[in-house]
């Protein structure tokens, strides 16, 4: 059974149609990379799946864990196990990372019918998961993303993902703005979270990230549709040849 099944998805922002019939199935444990030129709809896909209200879905369906994803508000999607690692994590002055995580973990556990974690166990969990992405303890006590470097923000996203243990992680250009060391740390964090039950959709502009997070499938998005799918070798080919040949192929097929 598919963990997530995206079928002929159409979405627009204001008057601009961005997703135009996107179809993608992801089974538990699989890692799918989505690549594509600028403006092809990669980040829109991430936003629509996470439930950002700026986008209007005009057609198609998304089934997540057997449920209609598009019917759920953003918080419900998160509780059902969908996690979006933001391309631009938001700075929230005055809200400490710890209070934020406590609230988030609390809501997740409530949703699963679990008792709230004792303070001691919560702190233990924080320590354990922060270590995954080599996030310093003091960052946990600061305001959410405030004054974090680009690398720290991305590590914080993966740290949150580790805390919330989703069944589907969507990484929206998590590699953007990272140097090679930060990239390796982030990728190691993601790899540590890979499991037969947990799937990932890795959205990236560059093949580089896929050296570290090795995907099972690579898809090319162009003009709001997946125009080519393959295995990790496709990413290498794109790195070498660019996107022009893809565009030409796609235009020829229209």
């Amino acid at each position: 059974m598919n963990l997530i099944s995206i079928n002929n998805l159409h979405a627009r922002i204001e008057e601009k149609e961005i997703l135009r019939g996107l179809t993608l199935d992801v089974k538990p444990g699989e890692v799918h990379a989505i690549m594509g030129p600028n403006g092809s709809g990669k980040s829109t896909l991430a936003s629509v799946l996470a439930g950002r209200e700026d986008y209007e879905v005009t057609g198609g369906s998304v089934t997540f864990n057997g449920k209609d994803l598009l019917e759920m508000p953003a918080e419900e999607r998160a509780r059902e196990g969908l996690f979006l690692a933001f391309q631009y994590p938001v700075e929230i002055p005055g809200v400490s990372n710890m209070n934020f995580l406590k609230a988030a973990v609390g809501e997740m556990r409530k949703h699963k019918g679990l008792e709230p974690l004792a303070a001691k166990d919560f702190l233990k969990l924080v320590k354990e998961k922060a270590a995954l992405v080599e996030l310093q303890d003091h960052l946990a006590n600061r305001a959410v993303n405030e004054g974090f470097s680009g690398g720290e923000k991305k590590r914080n996203e993966i740290f949150q993902m580790a805390m919330l243990e989703p069944s589907l992680g969507i990484l929206d250009e998590t590699d953007s703005g990272l140097d090679i060391d930060a990239l390796r740390i982030v990728a190691n964090g993601v790899n540590a979270l890979r499991s037969p039950e947990r799937s990932f959709i890795v959205i990236t502009h560059y093949q580089r990230l896929l050296d570290y997070i090795v995907p099972d499938f690579v898809h090319v998005l162009y003009k709001g549709r997946i125009v080519k799918s393959g295995t990790k070798e496709l990413a290498l080919e794109l790195e070498e040849r660019g996107y022009d040949w893809i565009k030409e192929e796609a235009e020829a097929n229209v």
């Binding site: 439930g51 508000p73 918080e75 994590p89 938001v90 002055p93 809200v95 934020f100 959410v144 919330l164």
Partner: protein, 413 residues
């Protein structure tokens, strides 16, 4: 037409006062001649409607009524208490200072009327003052406990017009807390005046916690004169109340003075909160910092009017003022008006007022982690007013204020 109505209201108020009030002649009487109730045509009352107060009659309480104030004490706060019940000083409920260096006395009448009055309510407060409490902190005395003034209203129709006079003499240090509360049946108009003198090198912190119910109307006036090297902080914390106006008049009448004015207000339903502040820099080398934050919900209304005067002599003044607001509802209104008048040329002054909505990006970020809309809003508003809450130095008071906000679901702890 409007004038007629208001005049009728004034007549009613004057009749309630009777002819036997304290000041049948002099400046009070002149003020009664001169002023009717303020209207929105008066610059200082432009956004502040008083009809909800003036169309009712309020009665001064003759008796000092019993009241158990236990539930209005601040847990964990080791403090002396000065209790007013329905505007009347209640000696039995008070726990007056027992240590050296501080004296609290009580009078039923004001010693003097003022030289002049600015509006009707000021004169009315003096004409029908319900009780006077004088606090004198001796030279260089450091008072070990806070002094907690508690104003409780237990009845309907209550007119409470207490006066507190405080003098912190040369080098004295004292911390005060003042709370305004009411029982369920309370309906009142409290018109409380506070006159403070912070003498040379003295220090005073005043935490004011407003916790009245929606049928209570609260007018506060603080007149504060600070002299050389004096330090004064007032935190105006408006948590609840049907109608609240705070008028702070701070005169920096010496050099090297530091004055801090902080406040938050979180009105909802049809509540109204008005903060009028006036900071008067008269001499050089003084600092004033003003930080106000508001979160307004439902059909509530807020007013912030911040005046800062920097006189010609007040060189090297640092005067900062900030008032930031969040509207949680389309029906909430915030009126802000900073007024800076600067006559000295070597000063650093800044002001900023903002009124906006919660950051949609931040809300989405929180929700995308499974946090409900309500809790996400609460996290953000808590963070927003958090820097004002953190200005409360006393741990027990800060904890109490936090708990009061949490109880009302205005804050996440």
């Amino acid at each position: 037409m409007e004038t007629t109505t208001i005049s009728q209201a004034k007549e009613k108020w004057m009749a309630a006062l009777g002819t036997s009030h304290a000041y049948a002649s002099g400046s009070v009487a002149e003020a009664f001649e001169r002023f009717d109730f303020p209207t929105t045509r008066d610059e200082d009352w432009k956004y502040t409607r008083v009809a909800r107060i003036t169309n009712k009659t309020w009665v001064k309480s003759d008796a000092v009524e019993a009241c158990d104030v236990q539930s209005f004490l601040i847990p964990g706060l080791d403090a002396y208490t000065v209790v007013f019940v329905n505007g009347r000083y209640n000696a039995a409920q008070s726990f007056l200072p027992t240590e050296q260096g501080i004296h609290v006395s009580h009078e039923t009448k004001l010693a003097n009327q003022r030289a002049s009055y600015n509006h009707f309510f000021q004169a009315y407060a003096d004409a029908a003052c319900t009780d006077v409490v004088n606090v004198l902190v001796e030279k260089n005395a450091r008072i070990s406990k806070s002094v907690h003034f508690i104003h409780v209203v237990t009845n309907a129709q209550v007119l409470a017009q207490p006066r507190i006079n405080l003098i912190a003499m040369h080098g004295a240090e004292v911390k005060c807390i003042e709370s305004f509360v009411g029982t369920e049946s309370a309906k009142s108009f409290t018109n409380r005046t506070l006159d403070i003198e912070v003498q040379e090198n003295a220090s005073l912190i005043w935490d004011k916690i407003q916790l009245e119910n929606d049928a209570q109307f609260l007018m506060n006036e603080e007149n504060v004169r600070i002299t050389g090297n004096g330090r004064f902080t007032i935190n105006t914390l408006t948590i609840d109340g049907g109608w609240v106006r705070n008028a702070l008049n701070i005169s920096l009448d010496g050099q090297n003075i530091e004055a801090n004015l902080n406040g938050f207000y979180m009105p909802r339903r049809k509540q109204f909160v008005d903060n009028h502040t006036k900071v008067d820099h008269r001499l050089p080398h003084c600092n004033s910092n003003e930080l106000y934050k508001g979160v307004l919900n439902d059909q509530s209304t807020g007013v912030f009017n911040g005046k800062v005067y920097v006189h010609l002599d007040a060189q090297k003044t640092n005067a900062f003022q900030s008032c930031a607001n969040i509207l949680l509802s389309d029906d909430a209104t915030m009126n802000t008006k900073p007024e800076l008048e600067i006559y000295a040329d070597d000063v650093k002054c800044s002001h900023g007022t903002t009124t906006g909505q919660l950051d949609e990006e931040a809300l989405f970020y929180l929700k995308s982690r499974g946090i409900s809309e309500d809790n996400a809003r609460r996290l953000l508003t808590s963070a927003f007013i958090g820097d004002v809450v953190s200005k409360i130095e006393n741990d027990a008071v800060r904890e109490y204020v936090t708990q009061q906000l949490v109880q009302r679901e205005l804050l996440v702890a």
